[in-house]
């Protein structure tokens, strides 16, 4: 088949598919016009398409099972002293067989696990033996004992374990009462705690690894095997970190999934999942049909439903409300250090609940008290930390450290304080001084990196010192600000900024719940929200913003007279309303702006900050109203904003923050007059140009002012286009382009610049089109498509970028149509249609955008008629 015919088939197929089903054949006949081969091809493809399930949709795994070899060849074979009787199960780690000790000494049935993996070197074999010995020394009634192990004649590894006849945990637990379930779980905890005391972490605790015998005794299988086999499979003894082999994501802790060190806390997490499932019949996270990324994100970032929130009529969740669900939630915390400090502590809480005493686990929202405990029990805490160290890096090192610890404590403490002082001085004295220096980016980057290193080590060492923890949180926030606070000179490392803010957030949430700490936490959420907003991740931004508002609400309810707090609250609400606006949800945003306008007079009305805030609010409200097709109201609100801005500009000519607010009002004002009163639109745009030029004159390194200038120039260009002053438009737009390219060059990761440049190209396209330069227009629109597409692809939640993309695609399509490039036009328009239809389904189309849909449909109809 030649590619040309292939292309024809594809195109016809797509067109036919777009038709209502009953019209398809008719349509095909008309389209193929006697080309029988084409007709046959497409009709058979349409038939194949109509099958409910497609073969290649199932992914390859459904069929790849065909390739599995048989296991029958193991039967009767001899492994060391053991002879295989039959297979009893298979798991991620290998096949398990029932085998019999057959050397005549004594009769013993064992479970024989065979790992088809030979040793590649002697070191590895030694390691295997050593580990095996440790595991074999575990001797507990609820742990299946490792009896023996070795290498078969054909080079396979095998392990002989106590053979357990029993039911799996979940099946057994199903018919038990709540009390009986908890009793059973306590026995499991006992076994895990015993192993932990012997420095063995299970790493792969899950219900299928726990059997219950006829005597109702739970037996834990495969203790420590995950690690043993893991190392083995990696062919590398030195890689002790993790790289886990036994991938059972449903039970794996967030840190395991991240590839971080696995400690006793990971087992506590897995136990939490097991208990959750025992009690509710469900797993904390629904991972069905999720991609790997989604699985990772779900487990490391989202909170599971609390047990009492599970809606299942069979389940009497009211019994689980309170203590039990708090206990489970504590085991399931994302941060290992916030879970129970040991399995014993976990079990102890359950026992307390059973004997109606107060438990230590509290909901996340209430003050977390473990830090207090740590302070009171420094020695115990240190010992616990050592156990963890031992599990990670080997007992020898831990012992060495324990011995040295006493002697070096004084010296260590001094070093600790030095580092603390140094980081503080780096961040709070040096960084602000170089913040606005031209070309200081690299220096600031190094500074941020060093400070982060110090801080991370401090944070790890000082869990119990609350004052220091609070200091650390501020330091992380300062770093976040340097990395990516959109309102200050920043490094545009938004992902890094989010990480830093999140670290601060995690610390702040551990601090005592004082009003001051809550206020700081709220501010942290706002900063997080702002960076996410810059990244165009509006969904997450909204969540953080809501979290901040909730805290402010609580604080204001306690002390309603606090005007500072009220101002912060309004600002936060405004921020939220802006997120809604950016999401095209003007109807949600407008009432919030209106509410802010109504509350503002309660604040100190003479203060410049309040006035600037008032002006900003009016302009945001005006803008949202205008987008919502309420133009007369929009103009009224906007004029209020302009009035305040003008007087502020006169009173504070040298205050860069005030000037920034003034500039913003002018730009918003200009934008609402576009297409209706273009003269006014142009005047405001020119005032915006002037304001930003003044700012640059007083501080040439100010990137923000440059960005403002570029935006103002492109706005002047837009107004000029509408006023038919085309050459003026062109020169302004070209100036703006130069500045944007310079900014993108400096900060290639900053999507805002790319978005603005994309918008600029659409304006270019408009001008060229009006000058009847179709090819010029086409290339401008195509450039904007490229930029919008890139943004839309990195953020599926960004509906605005997709709207812009559709708009540009539509323009591209219309021009292609005019140029006679029908196939291209069809492709562009269909893509535009697809995007807009999708947006419509998501309710993400403003009234303003609805004409877009009609325009595209009309063009497509025209094309179909002509084609």
């Amino acid at each position: 088949m030649n590619p040309e015919f292939w292309g024809k088939i594809k195109q016809t197929f797509e067109l036919a598919l777009a038709q209502p089903e009953q019209n398809r054949i008719e349509f095909l006949r008309a389209t193929c016009q006697g080309d029988n081969e084409l007709f046959e091809e497409v009709i058979s493809l349409l038939n194949a398409h109509d099958k409910t399930e497609h073969l290649i949709e199932k992914h390859c795994f459904d069929i790849a099972g065909n390739i599995l070899p048989s296991s029958h060849r193991y039967e009767g074979r001899q492994f060391g002293h053991y002879k295989i009787i039959r297979e009893i199960g298979r798991g991620g780690m290998g096949a398990v067989f029932l085998a019999e000790r057959s050397d005549g000494e004594f009769q013993q049935k064992v479970a024989l696990k065979i790992i088809r993996q030979g040793f590649t070197n002697g070191e590895l074999e030694k390691y295997f033996r050593r580990e095996r010995q440790i595991l074999a020394s575990l001797n507990h009634p609820n742990i299946a004992k490792l009896l023996d192990g070795g290498v078969s004649e054909t080079g396979e590894l095998f392990l002989a374990m106590e053979f357990i006849e029993g039911e799996t945990l979940l099946a057994f637990a199903e018919s038990l009462s709540l009390g009986e379930k908890l009793g059973l779980f306590l026995k499991i905890c006992g076994a895990v705690a015993y192993a932990h005391r012997n420095l063995v972490v299970h790493r792969d605790l899950k219900p299928s690894n726990i059997l219950v015998t006829r005597g109702n005794e739970p037996k834990l299988l495969d203790f420590g095997l995950a690690k043993l086999l893991d190392e083995n499979l990696l062919d590398d003894v030195t890689q002790t970190q993790t790289a886990f082999r036994a991938l059972t994501p449903a039970y794996a802790s967030p840190e395991q999934l991240r590839g971080a060190s696995v400690t006793t806390a990971s087992d506590i997490y897995s136990l939490g999942v097991v208990l959750y499932e025992m009690l509710s019949g469900e797993r904390p996270f629904d991972l069905e049909k999720k991609s790997l990324d989604e699985v990772l994100r779900t487990i490391t970032q989202t909170e599971p439903l609390r047990l009492s929130q599970i809606r299942d009529p069979k389940l009497q969740t009211q019994h689980l409300r309170g203590d039990i669900e708090n206990i489970v939630a504590m085991a399931l915390r994302k941060e290992p250090e916030r879970r129970f400090e040991s399995v014993e502590a976990f079990a102890d809480d359950i026992e307390r609940h059973l004997s109606h005493r107060t438990v230590s686990a509290r909901p996340n929202t209430v003050k977390y008290r473990a830090s207090k405990f740590l302070r009171r029990n420094k020695i115990a805490a240190a010992a616990a930390a050592l156990v963890i160290v031992a599990l990670v890096s080997g007992l020898a090192i831990a012992l060495w450290q324990a011995k040295k610890a006493g002697r070096q404590r004084d010296r260590a403490e001094k070093r600790f304080n030095d580092v603390r002082q140094l980081s503080n001085s780096l961040l709070f004295e040096i960084a602000p001084k170089i913040e606005r220096l031209n070309g200081s980016t690299e220096a600031r980057e190094i500074l941020v990196k060093r400070a982060l290193e110090y801080l991370d080590s401090l944070a790890a060492e000082s869990q119990s010192d609350l004052a220091l923890q609070s200091e650390l949180a501020s330091a992380y926030e300062k770093i976040g600000e340097l990395q990516g606070n959109p309102n200050k000179p920043n490094l545009s490392d938004f992902a890094g900024a989010i990480l830093s803010y999140e670290k601060a957030n995690a610390i702040r949430r551990r601090l005592p719940v004082t009003p001051e700490n809550r206020r700081l936490l709220a501010e942290n959420f706002r900063q997080l929200s702002a960076v996410r907003f810059i990244q165009n991740d509006n969904g997450a931004s909204l969540q953080d913003s809501s979290a901040a508002l909730k805290i402010y609400e609580g604080l204001l309810a306690e002390s309603p007279g606090a005007t500072e707090m009220q101002a912060s609250f309004i600002e936060a609400e405004l921020e939220q309303a802006q997120i809604y606006s950016a999401n095209n949800q003007y109807r949600t945003a407008i009432p919030l702006f209106q509410k802010a306008v109504a509350t503002l007079p309660n604040l100190d009305p003479g203060k410049q900050k309040t006035r600037a805030l008032t002006a900003r609010t009016y302009s945001l409200l005006g803008n949202a109203l205008s987008w919502d097709n309420r133009q007369p109201e929009a103009e009224v609100e906007m004029s209020k904003a302009v009035l305040i801005a003008e007087s502020l500009a006169r009173e504070y000519p040298n205050d860069s923050n005030i000037q920034q607010d003034v500039w913003r009002v002018f730009i918003w004002a200009s934008s609402i007059y576009e297409d209706s009163k273009d003269e006014i639109c142009l005047q405001f745009a020119q005032r915006a140009v002037k304001t930003s030029e003044t700012a640059i004159a007083s501080d040439p390194a100010n990137m923000q002012a440059k960005h403002n200038l570029a935006k103002s120039l492109s706005r002047v260009g837009i107004c000029s286009v509408n006023l038919k002053k085309l050459s003026e438009a062109h020169s302004n737009l070209a100036q703006a382009e130069t500045i944007f390219l310079e900014l993108i060059n400096k900060e290639p990761k900053n999507r805002i610049y790319q978005n603005d440049l994309g918008k600029l190209y659409t304006r270019f396209g408009d001008t060229k089109q009006k000058q009847h330069d179709l090819n010029g227009a086409l290339s401008a629109f195509q450039r904007s498509v490229g930029l919008f597409e890139a943004i839309a692809q990195t953020d599926e939640r960004n509906t605005l970028a997709r709207r812009d993309l559709a708009q540009s695609l539509k323009s591209v399509g219309l021009i292609q149509l005019e140029l006679g490039e029908k196939e291209n036009a069809l492709q562009s328009l269909q893509r535009a249609l697809e995007i807009v239809t999708q947006l419509k389904q998501q309710n993400a189309l403003g009234d303003w955008d609805k004409s877009l849909l009609t325009e595209i449909q009309t063009a497509l109809q025209k094309l179909n008629v002509a084609g």
Binding site: P3, H59, C60, F61, N66, L247
Partner: protein, 188 residues
């Protein structure tokens, strides 16, 4: 970060993302080794009712090899693209071997006993590969999409990212490809 350190997939991936020309090959070699090893273990051990899942395998290799917090989403997509290709080779190899066994007759009955599951309509991997090769000749991009989606388990979004085309295009091509393969593979 130290580029000379061998076997660091995270570093390699970032190098691929940054346009380092030797990186893709090194990455391929590395991913190939690991996937082979994993696949071998799975072919030997996985239980029949829990059949071999290449996509799960690829993900497993990914989790084992890459410290995902340090790799950008785009670079992760590179990993999956490489892995998809490797997975295709591994599976086709195995299918060939199995076919050879079938022809020689020896293990046939045992094999069918061991594979105790039904997929309804059975898909012949070798036929699929053949069809995919045909497709490669007339429509390279669509063939690549199929390889990424089918063998690599990539989502529409990820596929679009790897091939640097829009999701809409991927979706449209995928719709066509599904119909085409359905027809080609069920033809008598």
């Amino acid at each position: 970060m130290n580029l000379t350190k061998p076997k660091d997939v995270t570093v390699l991936l970032n190098a691929v993302g940054a346009g380092d020309e030797s990186a893709p090959e090194e990455l391929l070699a590395f991913v190939y080794d690991d996937l082979r090893r994993l696949a071998r273990a799975h072919f030997a051990n996985e239980k029949p009712d829990h059949t071999l899942q290449p996509t799960a395998l690829v993900h497993e290799a990914y989790i084992r090899l890459v410290s995902w917090e340090n790799v950008s989403w785009q670079n992760r997509a590179h990993f999956f693209a490489v892995a998809a290709n490797v997975m295709r080779n591994i599976l086709i190899d195995h299918a060939r071997k199995k076919n050879a066994q079938k022809r020689s007759g020896g293990q046939r009955i045992l094999l069918e006993e061991a594979v105790g599951f039904q997929t309804g309509q059975e898909l012949d991997l070798l036929a699929l590969d053949e069809a995919l090769q045909t497709l490669e000749k007339v429509d390279g991009r669509q063939a690549k999409i199929v390889e990424l989606r089918f063998f690599g388990g990539l989502s529409i979004e990820e596929t679009a990212c790897v091939l640097k085309i829009s999701e809409t295009t991927v979706r449209r091509e995928w719709t066509f490809a599904k119909a085409w393969f359905q027809r080609e593979l069920t033809r008598d």
